[in-house]
């Protein structure tokens, strides 16, 4: 399948728009996300942008930069840090935050474990532990709106979630009593202690994200592109050998050329074999792939059919 980008340069774009009054799908998605972000900045007292250092939150941060330019982004960013990080991602996070001059809040899962707020799970995955850490941080900082980079194409529970997704005083999502969302009118009204999760990338697909990264020249951590790495096979996925994770007795480590489609807890996020080393090559690969990014690389979503819905109800991203 051939994909054309809507944006090849300023003069080209201007010429096209001037004659047809049409926007490319990327421009339309961008405008929608910017509208959502401005709406939140105008209607909430203390918004925060959840930033994992993954490609979706990087695109979201770029959109925030665009929405308020030439002013700085008028809210802090928060990283819910599992401690199971890819070094490249943390390095990238710190550099980007410094460039933009925004405040970074780190909510640490390790600290929550040390304080006895949560207990390490047997599997070693800290995915679920993020829920408590996230909700604690929202409460401590009195955040009333939190931007998340979730997309509706990722997962079927997300496909039904609103752009403005209401959370009660326990941080819970109730899929059965969601507020109707019509036109581009978003209802941001909440009582004290409640908060809103806001998803400006709701209507983007994985392919849109990559097309946007390619068209805009958005920088993302190098592990999203093909590189050689020591990995081992577990549950049909390729997991990296890191200081957080070693192969088990029956598992054999080997070198492979891989890239990541998602970046999460390093102990459960799998890599895919790939030779795509530029955004354009990734776009071609994503357009041809026959597995969803979560199905291919996230052990956490394979647990049960409603794994995501269950976590979301408790307050997950």
């Amino acid at each position: 399948m051939a994909y054309r980008f809507g944006h090849t340069g300023r003069s080209e774009t201007t010429r096209l728009m001037a004659t047809t009054y049409e926007l490319t799908h990327l421009r339309a998605l961008e405008a929608e996300a910017i509208h959502i972000m401005r709406e939140v900045a105008a209607e909430f007292e203390r918004p925060v942008l959840l930033f994992s250092g993954g490609k979706d939150s990087i695109v979201m941060l770029r959109l925030a930069e665009k929405a308020f330019w030439p002013a700085k982004i008028p809210f802090p960013v928060m990283h819910v840090d599992t401690g199971h990080n890819f070094d490249e991602v943390i390095e990238f996070r710190d550099r980007r935050v410094a460039e933009l001059g925004v405040k970074l809040v780190v909510a640490s899962v390790q600290a929550a474990i040390d304080q006895g707020r949560v207990a390490e799970e047997k599997s070693g995955s800290r995915n679920r532990l993020q829920i408590t850490t996230l909700l604690d941080a929202i409460e401590e900082n009195r955040f009333d709106a939190a931007f998340g980079g979730a997309r509706r194409d990722e997962e079927k529970a997300r496909a039904k979630e609103r752009v403005f997704s209401f959370r009660d005083e326990f941080g819970q999502w109730d899929p059965k009593s969601q507020r109707p969302e019509l036109w581009s009118l978003y209802n941001g009204r909440i009582h004290p202690g409640e908060h809103m999760r806001v998803f400006p990338l709701s209507n983007w697909t994985e392919l849109d994200i990559w097309q946007y990264i390619a068209a805009e020249g958005v920088e993302i951590p190098a592990i999203y592109y093909a590189h050689e790495r020591e990995v081992f096979r577990r549950d049909g996925m390729l997991l990296a050998v890191t200081r957080h994770l070693a192969p088990g007795k029956d598992e054999e480590a080997f070198k492979a050329t891989v890239r990541y489609r998602t970046v999460g807890d390093a102990t459960i996020t799998g890599a895919v074999e790939s030779t795509a080393s530029t955004p354009e090559e990734v776009v071609v690969e994503v357009a041809a792939t026959r597995l969803t990014e979560r199905g291919a690389t996230r052990a956490d979503d394979r647990v049960t059919e409603a794994a995501m819905e269950d976590r979301k109800k408790e307050g997950y991203f």
Binding site: Y21, R27, L29, A31, H35, P70, S177, L182, W183
Partner: protein
């Protein structure tokens, strides 16, 4: 260039809607193997003897357990020429509010009928809701044509019946396509089974239908969403009005008026992060700067001095009621959100309730309950700057929010100022 097209479908289990969506997604490679495997596993577990593609969209636990679609599901696929967003909604009357929600942003409505049954109450209702929400294009898919031996006569009979019904509605562009979703006839490619049909396949039609001129490019409407004041050394006195264009084409040099103040100025520039642009139109999100320093805040409306929206507090509107717990009654007060402006609204009266199946106006009613649609008169605490919904879907729409629970209880389409 690849454009974005949003379409809405509504339907129930047996009219083949899920099969049709499944086929569009599958044939455009938007269904992934792991999703299909998961659906196959679930279908088997539920004892179905075929793969139930509805399970692809019915993602919530309650939906899977009860085998029903509860909510609007958004699905995505793309072809080289367009990216599509499907708002897939349940078709039963008890889900009218979900259909209205899905229809509110749609460019195209897909209505399915079973060729054997012809038009039924549900197909009329879907068409009516599509016209009420001003979806500019409607496609009637006459499905299961294989079960009527691809009878041209049957297709034309349904087409003519629908056309005559549609004269009561206000639908700008009507298209009829004979299909078999199960076998894929006329879905992605033209089928040899219908040599008498000269139109395009459904997908081809969705790729080609002209939507750019559906937007209002005449009446300049720029609701101010957010005022940008950087307070930095490089942009010391910078003051920009950020927002999303709701109508018309705005250009630098244009004379503009700001409501409610009535002050006039000229557009100095239209700016974005990527640089200034020579013009802006819906739905671009831009920052407008004016030549004069005027006091402007969120909720104000930038327009042209000789083409202004109606400014008023007494409004007639069609309302779709969405609350499970409370009815809409005269004297009720709500928060109203219209463009970027928030005020309070008082319901003065319910003029009639509309039967969404027969279009009959029931004037003997006092209130509206869940999923009911009716015409009301209301008064707002401050003026809002509106156009008729039929002229502009953005400046003509609003939501009502219950003040006690903060939930969205009503969706409104403005008919005009109260007489």
């Amino acid at each position: 260039m690849s454009e974005l097209l949003r379409f809405a479908t509504a339907g129930s289990v047996d009219d083949g809607k899920s099969t049709l969506i499944g086929r569009l997604l599958y044939d455009s490679k938007a269904i992934f193997e792991d999703q299909l495997e998961a659906v196959e596993r679930s279908s088997e577990a539920m004892g179905a003897d075929y793969t139930n593609l509805a399970l692809l969209t019915d993602g919530l636990r309650a939906e899977r357990e009860q085998g029903i679609t509860i909510d609007v599901a958004y699905r995505y696929f793309a072809t080289p020429s367009r990216k599509f967003i499907i708002a897939d909604t349940p078709g039963h009357i008890q889900y009218t509010r979900n259909m209205v929600t899905g229809a509110s942003t749609a460019d195209v409505a897909l209505v399915l009928v079973d060729a054997r049954k012809g038009l039924v109450e549900q197909s009329r209702r879907h068409a009516f809701l599509a016209s009420l929400l001003r979806i500019p294009h409607l496609v009637l898919c006459v499905n299961k044509m294989d079960l009527v031996d691809w009878s041209q006569e049957r297709f034309e009979e349904i087409r003519d019946e629908f056309r005559s019904f549609a004269t009561k509605l206000d639908i700008a562009d009507l298209t009829f396509i004979p299909i078999s979703a199960l076998n894929g006839d006329n879905v992605v490619t033209r089928s040899p089974n219908s040599p008498w049909y000269e139109g395009a396949s459904l997908l081809h039609h969705l790729e080609e239908v002209h939507i750019a001129s559906d937007r209002n490019l005449i009446d300049v409407r720029f609701p101010v969403q957010y005022v940008i004041r950087p307070h930095s050394d490089d942009f010391h006195d910078y003051r920009g009005y950020a927002g999303t264009v709701a109508g018309g084409v705005i250009k630098p040099g244009d004379e503009v008026m700001v409501l409610p103040s009535g002050f006039t100025s000229r557009v100095a520039s239209i700016e974005t992060f990527d640089g200034p642009v020579p013009e802006a139109y819906a739905p671009m999100a831009v920052t407008v700067r004016l030549e004069d320093e005027i006091d402007i805040s969120r909720g104000d409306m930038i327009c042209r001095p000789h083409n202004r929206p109606t400014s008023g507090q007494d409004i007639d509107a069609m309302i779709c009621w969405m609350s499970e717990s409370l009815d809409l009654n005269p004297r009720d007060k709500f928060t109203i959100k219209h463009t970027t402006r928030t005020a309070r609204a008082l319901v003065k009266n319910v003029q009639y309730r509309l039967d969404v199946n027969t279009l009959h106006r029931d004037e003997g009613v006092e209130s509206l309950a869940l999923n009911e649609i009716g015409r009301i008169q209301m008064r707002t605490t401050q003026p809002i700057f509106f156009d008729e919904y039929r002229r502009n879907r953005t400046t003509g729409s609003f939501i009502l929010v219950a003040e006690s629970t903060n939930t969205t209880v009503g969706a409104g389409m403005i008919l005009g100022p109260s007489a």
